[in-house]
Amino acid sequence: MNRDVLSHLPVAVEPLLELEAHPECGGLALFVGTVRDHHEGRSVRHLAYTAHEPLAAKIIREVEQATRERYGVPYVRIVHRLGDLSIGDIAIVCVVRAPHRAEAFDACRYAVDAVKHGAPIWKEEFYTDGSSAFVEGCCIRDDLDEQASRSHHHHSHTSHG
């Protein structure tokens, strides 16, 4: 599958829904993450997403595949935006088509969380006071030793949609 999962251009939601396909599906779950104007009490003016594109694309495709298998749903489609984004711009879209709503909702949440925690994509926020910072994220090393694990502070990002 060569569908783009990373986009340097604004993302259009409608073409990702595949409403003309999947007649066996009665549920469509859609998550759209947009750029928020604040983060941890700071006022955000705009932000930039960068990625290690080869690995990010591979991991997002793996998440799509794993989600289809885990929830038994026929269609999972994820696109993550890269580049400079303004407040309100679409950062990530996840579409799941499923026979019923329960697995559609569950699969959609699982896929978005998996991308946020696993794909090498970074968010640099630019604040209204002129400063900027990379948002603290999730370590994706798979060979962290015990000592490194102890000093590893894992932050939940599930509410940072």
Binding site: H52, L55, P120, I121, V135, E136, C139, R141, H157, H160
Partner: protein, 83 residues
């Protein structure tokens, strides 16, 4: 002597002020972990964040104990925060 090319991302790239960092290493540097140790001594300002970086060759995560990639290129990926 041989060269190892580190590709830097996000805060690491900002810290180094460059996207790539090339270091000369002796031939006894055989693993990813060895190369990282040399990077930490050559560029101490980058040493702190290295522990929480994943190492990538091409589109594959490699471990500290793995052999140095044949092309001598390692991408260093700090903790991620997409979405």
């Amino acid at each position: 002597m041989k060269q190892v090319v580190f590709e830097l991302f996000a805060n690491l790239e900002r810290l180094a002020g460059q996207h790539e960092c090339v270091i000369e290493v002796t031939d006894d540097v055989g693993t990813v972990g060895d190369a990282l140790a040399r990077l930490a001594s050559a560029r101490p300002e980058l040493a702190g964040p290295l522990d929480r970086c994943a190492c990538v060759s091409g589109d594959t995560i490699v471990r500290r104990a793995d052999a140095l990639p044949a092309d001598g290129r390692i991408a260093l990926l700090p903790p991620v925060a997409g979405g």
